[in-house]
Amino acid sequence: MMIVSFLSHRLEDQTKKLHKDMKKSTEADLAMSKAAVKISTDLLSNPLCEQDQAFLESMTALDTAMKRMDAFNQEKVNQIQKTVIDPLKKYSGIFPSLNMAVKRREQALQDYKRLQAKVEKYEDKEKTGPIMVKLHQAREELRPVREDFEAKNKQLLDEMPKFYHSRIDYFQPSFEALIRAQVAYFTEMYNIFNDLTEQIDQAGLTDEQREKETEAKLNELRALSIVADD
């Protein structure tokens, strides 16, 4: 019983932590996607875009891509909510009841022990009339308590291991769903951004080349007299 209870505690902690992390990371994920959409929306709403037709087309494409990604992200989060976060919460919710049951069993055990001790005390004494009466009374008290305890104990010993073992089957669909949701999302992301990159980016540049190009442009700006050079 002790072992089961101990394992149950560990499981409880881990489930709680996983639930919390899942929730928080999903929130951050949503926030990230929204921030990306804001990037493109703000750009598009700036009249700067209207100055150059090609630039406007690029910004529109970027905006469309971001919004689509956000929609997919939302869908992914919804799926995860239903198949992972809710089950996790439910699972965590069992523990209070279980813990309470364990406590009550404990209390029953204490009562049982107490009364048992009382009975034994009377049994050890001389068998006088009053003692016998008391002994009898004590035994009468003891019986229901013992039976109660035994019932509780049995229940728990039956149910808890079952519960503990059930976690594997319980969580299996959740994890698979998690992975599947991400696969779908990233596949979409790849398609969308592949197309977008072809449209608005130069092909085949390495990071060093990009940095060089950026630096060259910045230097060109710095060379102007109107730019402050510190």
Binding site: L7, L11, L18, D21, K24, S25, A28, A31, A35, I39, D42, L43, N46, L48, Q51, M69, K82, T83, I94, L98, A101, R104, A108, D111, P130, I131, V133, K134, Q137, E141, R143, P144, V145, A151, K152, Q155, E159, D169, Q172, F175, E176, I179, R180, Q182, F186, T187, M189, F193, N194, T197, Q202, R210, E211, R222, S225, I226, V227, A228, D229, D230
Partner: protein, 776 residues
Amino acid sequence: MEVPPRPQPPTLLLPLDRPMMPDLLHDHTQLDDLFSPEDDDFFVGSDESSDLLDCNSSVLNMSICSQDSFIELKEQSDEVQRKSEEEKSQEIQAQRQNLALQELLESERNYLRMLQLSSGFIRENLLKIQPPLVNVDCLFEHLPEVVSVTSRLLDSVDQDQLQPRDPNFLQNFCNAFLSLSSDMEMAYKEYLSNYNQVTTWEVNCKQKEALWDQVVKVLKSSAPELKASSLSFFLVMPVQRIARYPLLLQTILKHTDPSHPAYALLEKTAHTSVNINCRINEYKRIREFREVANKYKKTETLSIKDMINRLNTHSIFKKTARLSQQIKHETGIVPKLVDEEFDALEGFFYLLEKCILELLENVETYLSHLQAFLSYKTEEFDLYMDAQREAVCYKEITTALRQWILPTFEKRLRALIHKPLCALRDLLVGPRNLIRKRLDKLLDYELIEAKSNLSYEEQAAANTYKTMNTLLLTELPRFNTVSLQLIWRLLGTFSCLHRDLASDMTQLFQTFATQLPHSGMSSSAFWDWAEAAVMEGMRKLQDLCQTVEEALSAPVSMPVHPCWALRYHQLCQKHPQERIFEATCGVVGSRDLDLSLIKGELVAVVSERDSKGDRRRWLVDAGGKRGYAPASKLRQYQAPPAEGPPPPSPQPNRADTKLEGRHLSKSLDRRPSPLSLSPLSPSASPSSPVIPVKPRAPPLSPAMPIFQVVAAYPFTARGHREVSLGAGEPVRVLEPHDKKGNPEWSLVQTQGGQSGYVPSNYLTTVPQMSYLRPYP
């Protein structure tokens, strides 16, 4: 740049033989007049030409003879005339070229002389003036280089020791010029860029009359024939000279025959001299712009003290004038000087600024959320299901995502997008300040624009405005364009980074694709299955939960403690059952209206909050007394239910309901042991037995159990007022106190009809049992 009015150049012309030589420097068209017949005697020709003329006339004479040969001869003579003319013109040309070349050389020599005079005599003597002149030496700073270049040019010409007439002379000269051209450019560039110091210095110096007189004295003594009256007279010479080279060279070129061997070279030299001038001007302009720009483009962070220190009448006047001009604009009193081109550029710049700042902010938000995402490590859990495939896969995927895929993405994002954006944002400062300053200067300019005669300061202010305006008009378009291109590029990179992220992830998934059981399912089928499975799991969990709760929260059926039976009875009459509570431990009332309770005491809850709304203090009825008791010490009292299966309650139970029946038969067999006769106070009876009983449905009222008082112990009457009781004997309580009101003794009547006093604590209340005859 303000160039002081050109002083009359000293006559550097050659003293010529022929007084009627036109001024070559100023009026080239006059050369064309050379063919007018009046200038016959100008022809510095050889005897050849005059011979030709004589020939001509003699031929003419001869032609009188025959008519026929006249035309022929005429033609011949025309031809000869043409030839002679051609030769004449050639000769003239050569003459002119020679003149021009000599002009150049002579002027160069003179120029060098002047330069040497300036950098030597004048400089030394100016330095000797007491009190010492301020900053005079730096005026001469760049002069030595100019001197050296000029002297080198002349040296290389003299070296060859050729005569000007020699065709090679021209060639050598050109070569010398070309080889020195870059040095010349350098020297003159610096000199010219710093020239305006001379003007400023002079203006300042003239204000101090005494000093100025001394300066003039020095100047006059240096070259008396020149009658120089200002220092700039000398120091302006390089400025004039460099501009003159193209003119001089082009004159020579004009008079050089294209068939001359040095023609091409000469052409090149002329072009070079022009280019030198262009480049020097460009350099000067940029330097000027930079000076003005440097003054205004930095954001000054001044403390209030500094700003106050800066205030003086001049600055206050200036700023007030600007403000008033601006107000006039706004109210329409004065028309604004609108420059549409500039306004368009300015508008674009402000849009660009907004774009950059917004973009930077958004990117930073994005990055912060990314970091938050990375911090919640959902892969670090251990549900002790190590072998479970899906969990393992998930862990590995998520670990990869958080350990290297996303960090790479973040790093690239920062390096390729965030950093350049920050740099770009920093570059915005300069133009922004300059645009603002330009507006200030514009306001100043508008005020003085209409004036015809501008003071020196006003001229300077007007020039500053114009310079700034030009500078901004030239450079802002470039700034705007390049910045926009840069932003465009960055956005392209942004897209590329996302694609790379997605590609990394999809590659990662490939390795796990086969391991997942339902990976073959289509998307919709999978989600249906997943949701169903999850629902099923949750339902099972719910069942388990219910089972546990039901089984383990069996109802509590607590027997009434004999002490409180009466109390219970009382309370039940006035309050509903569910409001009956039991004190779980002793309570000591500390405040005015607080009650003190004993452990196990029964009370009825009247209100679950006190008068101030505190939910932890409940108003309870303790059988007559009312007061407050802490809610935490109260527990719902569940009386043994009147009928049927007991309602579930969250209280810890003492006995299972089904077991209670057995007690009933046993309870009557018990015979409580005799206790000491000393009456114990009703409140302290710790050893009174608890009789767990389960009442059957009493005939009278199901909600309220009927109680029967029985004797818990046998009691032997000691006197006639008392009555003997056997244990378990039901009695009827006549009076729960004796004659004096002492509650320790009760007047009871036994079933046998005897009545008398018995100790109250020997009595106990039990719920009525059907096989006990209720005492009538």
